[in-house]
Symmetry: D2
C-alpha cells in the first residue's frame, strides 16, 4: 500500500501588478487548515504536504484557485509528489535519513 | 471561467535497477489514451496535457501509480499547471504567442 | 563521460501588470539563439535545451535576467536537468524510446 | 541589483537498485558545506539555498554530479530560482511575510 505521500506545492500568481505575493500565498494555505489527515509545513520555496495522494489532489484545485478569488488572472502551480511503497516515510523521517539520524 | 488549463507532468520511477525509464513512461501515458476532453503531447522532458483541471487531476494518480504496477517501489512525479481566465489558451497558442505568430 | 544533458527551463516574471508573458519569454530565448553547442525547442510549458551542462548553466542567468531588463521586478525560473552516463541521449531519442521507435 | 536569490534544488538519482536515496542526497550536500556566501536548509523535498545566483550555479554541477561518483548512471535535478530586485529577501523573510509576521 502506498499510504501517505510527501508532496510540495508552489503557487505563482501572474500579472499581479506587485511583486509581493505573500497575501496570495497566505490565501492558498487556507484549504490546508484543519484538513483532515493532512500535515503541512511552509518553506521559503513552497509548502510541503503529507497525506494520502487523493486527499492532497482534492486540495490542489482549491489552493491553485485561491489567487483568482483575489483578482489574479493567471496562476502557475507546481506540485511534486514523492510516493514509496517499500516503507513508510514522513516529512521528518526524510530529513533525518539524509542527516544520518534516521533508524 | 477557467476552462482549459495547460499542464506538464514528469514521472520518475526510483530504484529501478536500470537507468532506462522509457518502458515505465510509456505505461504512464496509457491513462491519457482516449481520455475524453484531454489532449496531450510527449516531449523530451515530460508530457504536456490540455484539458479541464479536475479532469487532469483525476488522471494524475493513475499516471503516478503506473510504475508501481511494473515493480517500482518509489515514484517522484512533478506536475505544473498553467491556468488563466483572461483569455483561452491552447498548447499551440502559447508557443505561437512567443514566436510572434499569435493573434 | 557525461557529455550532453537534456534540460528544460521555465521562466515566470512576477508582478508584470499583465498576465500575458509571451514578450518576456521571447526575450528569454535570445541568449539561446546562435549559442554554440546548444540545441533548443520551445514547448507550451518551457524550453527544452540540449548541450553540455556547464554551457547551459552559463546561459541560465542570462535567460533568468532577461525579464528584469524589460521592467519585471521579480522572476521565478525552474530548470530541470537530465544527465546520464550509460549511453548518449538526444531530445529526439528520449521521445522515440518512449514511443517504441528507438533502437 | 539582484543580490541574493533564494533557490531550491532537488536531486534524484535514477537506476539505483534501491529506493532509498538518503546516502546519495547526503553526498549532494557536501559542496554546500562551508561554501562562502551560501546559506542552506534541508527540507523533506529538497534543499533551499540562499546566495548570489552565479555562486549557486557554480555549485549546481557539483551537486548534480555527486551521485555519479557513487555509482548512479543517471541523475535528474531540478532547480528553482526566486530573484527579486524591489527589496531584499531571505529564507526567513519569505516565510514570515506569508505568516503575517513580516515587516
Amino acid at each position: 500500500m502506498e499510504g501517505q505521500v510527501i508532496a510540495e506545492i508552489s503557487i505563482i500568481p501572474v500579472g499581479t501588478a506587485t511583486p509581493s505575493l505573500s497575501s496570495y500565498i497566505a490565501a492558498c494555505l487556507d484549504p490546508l487548515k484543519g484538513a483532515e489527515g493532512i500535515r503541512y509545513q511552509l518553506t521559503a520555496m513552497g509548502t510541503i504536504i503529507q497525506g494520502p495522494l487523493e486527499r492532497i489532489l482534492e486540495l490542489v484545485p482549491q489552493m491553485h484557485r485561491a489567487p483568482f478569488a483575489r483578482g489574479a488572472q493567471r496562476v502557475v502551480s507546481t506540485i511534486s509528489i514523492d510516493g514509496r511503497r517499500d516503507k513508510p516515510q514522513t516529512m521528518e523521517s526524510k530529513v533525518e535519513a539524509v542527516l544520518g539520524r534516521g533508524p
